[in-house]
Structures are given as structure tokens and as C-alpha cells.
């Protein structure tokens, strides 16, 4: 655990020591909060009396989109850059196991994402100061965003572990995320038997309940399973060096 935390700390200092994490956080905050403001304006004009269905649902669905856009840029460098600069080989000479290395980087990625999510709290809190409303329906949305983002980070790490090119890493991540998001869009192309399976894989469908203010254990389990699967793929990809005789 101590080694995991050390790796995490090193990763965070690398990220926040330079402008990259700050720029990504700024872009995330600007986009997410602008979406919130436009959703709020839409709700005030057209939304009716139900905040959960008229405002928060749309805000969380938009924030999910921003996370999908920004998180691959956070994770793209985590292994790819180290591999390119040769520091990954250096890390392998240290008494740190692959799973500790992976867990440290994963934790760092999730923490960066938590910082990003924290910036989206400003809008609801300012609105709450101006107009009293129940805050409880926001909880499932944020839990859903955290689970979804954690899965994105796991996918990004698996992609980053597979290549030394950051652009390729980011594109691989986008490819997987967009596929798992779009997979249910063209339902007309799916047969009746295949559709339920495909729908179960759709991140979009899985996140929908959280955005509405509902925590469903099945969706939580699905996101945790996706995360574990992609972390396992990342671990096996890191382990591939033994096949190539690198270590």
C-alpha cells in the first residue's frame, strides 16, 4: 500500500508540477460549468417544476460527456510517456510490483478526476445559495460520475500501457469509450436477442439512472466490473515485457 501511495504521489507531482493537469482541469471546469449554465437557463425557461428531471439529469449527462472528452488526455501519458522516456524500465528496476505501479497511477488518475468533479460543485452550490432546493438527488449523479470516470481511467491506463505513443494511447481510449457509449445508439441494427446484451454494455444506459437521481446496485456492479476488467488488461499488458525479455 505504501508503495502504491508513493507511486501515486510521484504521479500527482508530475501532473500538477507542470501545466498539463491544471490546463485539463481548467478546460473541464469551463466546459462542464458552461453546460450547467446553459442547462439551467433552459430549465428556467422550459423545464417545469421538477429539478431532478428538468435540470440535474441534463447537467450530469453533459458532465459525463466532458469527462469522456478530457480523461483520455489525463491517462494518455501515464505509461506511454514513461515508456518513451525510458523511465518505465527504471521503475521496473525498483522494488515495485506491476500491480502496485498500476494501482498508484490509477489512484492518481482518479484523484485528478475528483479535482475536476469538485469544480462542478460550484454551480449547484451557488444556485442553492440563491434558491433552496434538496441536494440529495445530486448524490447519485456524483457517485455515477465517479464510477464512470474511474472506468474511463482504467480504460485509459490499459491503452497507455499498450503503446509508447501518447496520441495512439489517447485515440485507443477514445475508441473504446466511444464504442461503449455508442454501442446502443443504432438499436435498429441489433437483433432482439443481441440487443439486451449490447445495452448492458452501454456506458450511456448504465449511467442514465444515476443522472436521474437513482442508485441501482446493478449499475454500480457493472461499472466496478468494467474497471476491474480494464485494470486487469492493463496489468497483463504491463506484464508483456516478460514475453519480450525486457525484464
Amino acid at each position: 500500500m505504501r508503495k502504491t501511495l508513493l507511486v501515486c504521489r510521484r504521479e500527482l507531482s508530475l501532473l500538477f508540477g507542470g501545466p498539463l493537469a491544471w490546463v485539463l482541469c481548467a478546460v473541464f471546469a469551463l466546459l462542464a460549468n458552461y453546460f450547467f449554465y446553459s442547462d439551467l437557463t433552459f430549465y428556467v425557461v422550459f423545464g417545469g417544476a421538477n429539478l431532478s428531471a428538468g435540470l440535474w439529469r441534463y447537467a450530469f449527462l453533459d458532465w459525463r460527456l466532458v469527462a469522456q472528452l478530457v480523461l483520455p488526455l489525463v491517462t494518455m501519458r501515464m505509461f506511454a510517456e514513461e515508456r518513451k522516456l525510458g523511465t518505465l524500465e527504471l521503475l521496473w528496476t525498483l522494488p515495485v510490483r506491476d500491480h502496485e505501479l498500476l494501482a498508484g497511477k490509477y489512484l492518481a488518475g482518479v484523484l485528478v478526476y475528483v479535482v475536476m468533479l469538485a469544480t462542478t460543485l460550484v454551480g449547484p452550490l451557488v444556485l442553492h445559495a440563491l434558491h433552496d432546493f434538496p441536494l440529495r438527488p445530486l448524490l447519485p449523479g456524483y457517485i455515477g460520475l465517479l464510477l464512470l470516470g474511474s472506468t474511463f481511467v482504467a480504460v485509459g491506463l490499459a491503452a497507455s500501457a499498450a503503446t509508447e505513443n501518447q496520441v495512439v494511447s489517447a485515440m485507443l481510449t477514445y475508441g473504446v469509450l466511444v464504442l461503449l457509449w455508442f454501442v446502443s445508439w443504432n438499436e435498429a441494427a441489433l437483433s432482439e436477442r443481441v440487443a439486451p446484451v449490447i445495452l448492458a454494455l452501454s456506458f450511456f444506459d448504465r449511467f442514465y439512472g444515476f443522472a436521474q437521481g437513482v442508485i441501482d446496485l446493478r449499475d454500480v456492479a457493472a461499472f466496478v466490473a468494467f474497471t476491474l476488467l480494464f485494470l486487469f488488461v492493463a496489468l497483463r499488458t504491463l506484464g508483456a515485457r516478460t514475453w519480450r525479455g525486457i525484464a
Binding site: A26, T41, G47
Partner: protein, 450 residues
């Protein structure tokens, strides 16, 4: 292993399989936490009660449009909640365009239509639901469960509320919809001189003008023959109706019930909150009491051959303003010795033996405003109407709370001033982004300096 890549793929597939199994195990033990204030995504206790009464498996086939993904998702989500409660509810989601054969067999021509089928021992019962929401679905489940529909006639012609009227203050369209959702079939009849043969319940919803002598006698005779009558009457009941009720031992108080505590709900103290339903009649009463906008008390007097009891009373703190001073704008202070202390009876249910083992029933609520479109979805008003209608019309009462409809009246959404809108924009959109961008610049300079 000579093929490490193959090994990695096999291992990943195995892990995916194990995780998939775990997800399936969780799926067999559904658990949901609905944190929306109005429990918008949780089935109402009424729906649970209806599902508990289903004896046989029910098939639900929904025909959706693949071009309307969000609607399909909402319908599937709603029906999944039914399946979670009762695994004998089997749901099939079919694309209408790709399943013309199934659509033809079930006689469906439009998108977003659900067909509910119950293949019981006495043949298949089938219901179509055009607007897939909880109210409509549960009503259809009720019908396919074999509980026969009761035809309700709203008498018109004496200033009664009209179940076809959507007007917010005058109309009772929402009341009709609530009754339909509970398995009633709502119709209207002009005058009460001739009650239709198929009437299972006749409703007098707040008449303001007198009935003809023939109408009063016809209603009297109808109840004594085993008919079921529900009377909703505001203070100032027409004399002919007072006469009819008197024949069954019911005396409208011609007063006003004052409920100071109801001021908590933003009213003027003349709205009376029902504190208690008679548990001998309604064993599991709804938790939210109804709020009667302007109610009068009811009193029972002995009449030979008529039996009955109070159905609903107001709270201890209420009292009866016997000469209705409050309506004249006078100070409504309780006068000991003149006004009457609460609890005040505001609803009664009487029965009359009709021979052949049948029984006539008459239910009376001392207020009719609560069924207006404006008031029906306030607290427990809808439950009071439907429960009372069931008590009068049926022997098997479903009393669990229904899902309240959308509230009418004062719009309660957000209304931001231009200044508040600017505050949100600058503090939520601009400030965090600029702050983080400035930090990025500082980090860049430091790195360059280093």
C-alpha cells in the same frame, strides 16, 4: 507457454467471464435507492398492492421506435421496476418496424404502445396501454388481473364538477383520470331521474342547484335497490340534496371546518386536514391525509334500516364554525358553547340492505373542491377520492397510496432574476476556469524557470 499473447487473451476472457457472472448475481438481487424528493423512480405502494394480487404470470410487450432511444429507455426502466417487484411479470421490448407480425397479432399500429396479457385459466385477458406510465400500466394490470371494471356516472345538470373539464379550478378531469387508473370507467349522465343500468357508482360532485323531486326519489330508490352513490357536497348544500341525505341518516352541518394547523400548508385556515380514516373500513389508510379546501361537518342520525359510521375526521385542533362567520370575513375565533370542538367528522359511509344479499351504499364527503384539478394532487386528496369511491362501489378495496400527479397551480420551478443569472454565470462558469487557467500559467512559468 509458447503463445503468451494467447495466454493473456484467454486470461482476460476468463476474468471478463467471472466479472460478468458477478454482475449477473447482483442483477438477480436488485436494489435501488431513489433519492429524488418525490420518489419519482420508485413504484407507488398502490402498484405494489396491485402486483401482489396478480395470481398468474403477466406478459408485457412494448412496441417502441428505434429512433426514440430515450423514450425506449424510460419505458424499459419503468417496466424493469415491475419485474423487480414481481418476477412473474415478463417484459419484451420490440421494435415495431421490425416486428410487424407480433404487432399484427397484438393489434398494435402505433409506437410506444404496451400490451398487457394475462393467460389465466379462464382465457387470455389483454389490455392496450397507449401512454406508458405507472398510472396507466397499473390500471391495465388491475384489469387483466380479473378485477372487473366499475362504471361510474358523474351526474350533470345541477352545477356539478365535470369529469370532462380540464379547467384548473372548475374541472374534475384529473379526478376522472385517477378513477380510470383504478379500474373505473368514467361516464356522465344528464340529470338523475334515470340511472343507467350499467352504473356501478353514481357520483354527485358538488351540485350547487336543487334536484327535481323525481330525481331525489330516483336516487333514493336506486340506493335502496343496491345502488352505490357517492356525494361530494360543499357547505351550502342544496335543500333537495339535504333531503336525500336525510333519508339515509346523514345531516350536512351547514358550517365551516376551521383548521388552524392547515395554515402550515399555506392556506387561510379554512382548509381542513383529514387526520384519521376509520380503520374498520380502511385497514391500511394512506399516510398522507387529504386537505379539504372548504369543508362542512357531517352528522349521523338514526334511520330505520340504515347502518353506517364516520369514515373520516379532522384533527383535535380543528373546530366547526357553526354559522360560517369565516366566509363573511369575520374574525374566526372559537366560541365555547357555540362552535363545536374537533375532531370533526367530514366523511361518512352508510349501508342499506337491498334484498338478495345485496347492499346499497352511500358515501358522503363534506367537500367537493378537493376533487378539482387544482386540488386533486395535493397531499392525500387523490387517495381520499379513490379510496372512498372504492369503499362505496366495491367490496375489495385497494387503499395503498397512489403516485401523486403533477401539482397544478402556483409554478414552483426556479425563477432567476437577471442579476442572479449573472452571479451564477460569473461564479460558476468563469471563476473556476480562470482560476485554474491562471494556476496552469504559474506552473508553466515555474517549470520554465526551473
Amino acid at each position: 507457454m509458447r503463445h503468451p499473447l494467447l495466454l493473456a487473451v484467454v486470461q482476460s476472457a476468463l476474468v471478463a467471464g467471472i466479472l460478468g457472472c458477478l454482475v449477473l448475481v447482483v442483477a438477480r438481487h436488485p436494489w435501488r435507492l431513489d433519492l429524488t424528493p418525490e420518489q419519482r423512480y420508485t413504484l407507488s405502494p398502490h402498484t405494489h398492492e396491485v402486483l401482489e394480487r396478480l395470481q398468474e404470470p403477466v406478459d408485457v410487450t412494448v412496441f417502441y421506435s428505434s429512433q426514440e432511444g430515450e423514450l425506449r429507455r424510460e419505458m424499459a426502466d419503468l417496466l424493469a421496476r415491475y419485474t423487480d417487484v414481481d418476477p412473474d411479470v415478463h417484459v419484451r421490448m420490440l421494435d415495431l418496424d421490425r416486428n410487424p407480425g407480433a404487432a399484427e397479432r397484438l393489434r398494435v399500429n402505433n409506437y410506444n404502445v404496451a400490451v398487457i396479457e394475462n393467460r389465466g385459466g379462464d382465457g387470455t385477458r389483454r389490455e392496450h396501454v397507449d401512454l406508458v406510465n405507472e398510472d396507466a400500466l397499473t390500471a391495465a394490470f388491475l384489469r387483466v388481473a380479473g378485477i372487473p371494471s366499475t362504471v361510474v356516472y358523474f351526474v350533470q345538470g345541477h352545477g356539478e364538477r365535470d369529469p370532462r373539464d380540464a379547467d384548473e379550478r372548475r374541472g374534475a378531469g384529473d379526478a376522472a383520470a385517477a378513477l380510470v387508473a383504478d379500474g373505473f370507467v368514467v361516464r356522465t349522465v344528464d340529470g338523475a331521474a334515470h340511472i343507467p343500468d350499467d352504473a356501478g357508482l353514481v357520483v354527485l360532485a358538488g351540485p350547487t342547484r336543487d334536484f327535481g323531486a323525481g330525481e331525489v326519489d330516483a336516487l333514493d330508490a336506486w340506493v335502496r335497490r343496491g345502488g352505490r352513490l357517492l356525494v361530494l357536497t360543499d357547505p351550502g348544500t342544496p335543500t333537495s340534496l339535504v333531503d336525500l341525505l336525510g333519508r339515509f341518516g346523514i345531516e350536512p352541518g351547514a358550517d365551516i371546518v376551521v383548521d388552524e394547523q392547515a395554515r402550515l400548508f399555506g392556506t387561510d385556515g379554512l382548509s381542513a386536514r383529514i387526520a384519521q380514516l376509520n380503520q374498520a373500513m380502511v385497514p391500511s389508510p394512506p399516510t398522507a391525509g387529504a386537505l379539504l379546501p372548504l369543508a362542512q361537518s357531517l352528522r349521523l342520525v338514526d334511520r330505520p334500516g340504515v347502518d353506517g359510521d364516520y369514515l373520516a375526521v379532522t384533527g383535535e385542533g380543528t373546530w366547526s364554525d357553526v354559522d360560517r362567520r369565516a366566509l363573511a370575513g369575520e374574525n374566526t375565533v372559537f366560541r365555547p358553547g357555540t362552535d363545536r370542538h374537533g375532531p370533526v367528522p367530514v366523511a361518512v359511509l352508510m349501508t342499506v340492505p337491498a334484498g338478495d344479499g345485496r347492499e346499497g351504499r352511500i358515501g358522503v364527503v363534506g367537500d367537493a373542491d378537493f376533487v378539482s384539478n387544482l386540488h386533486l394532487n395535493l397531499v392525500g386528496n387523490r387517495d381520499l377520492l379513490v379510496t372512498t369511491a372504492q369503499l362505496v362501489a366495491r367490496d375489495d378495496v385497494l387503499a395503498a397510496p397512489r403516485r401523486p400527479g403533477p401539482a397544478r397551480g402556483t409554478f414552483s420551478g426556479l425563477a432567476l432574476t437577471q442579476q442572479q443569472s449573472r452571479i451564477v454565470f460569473w461564479s460558476a462558469v468563469i471563476a473556476p476556469g480562470v482560476l485554474l487557467a491562471a494556476t496552469a500559467l504559474v506552473a508553466l512559468r515555474r517549470r520554465r524557470a526551473a
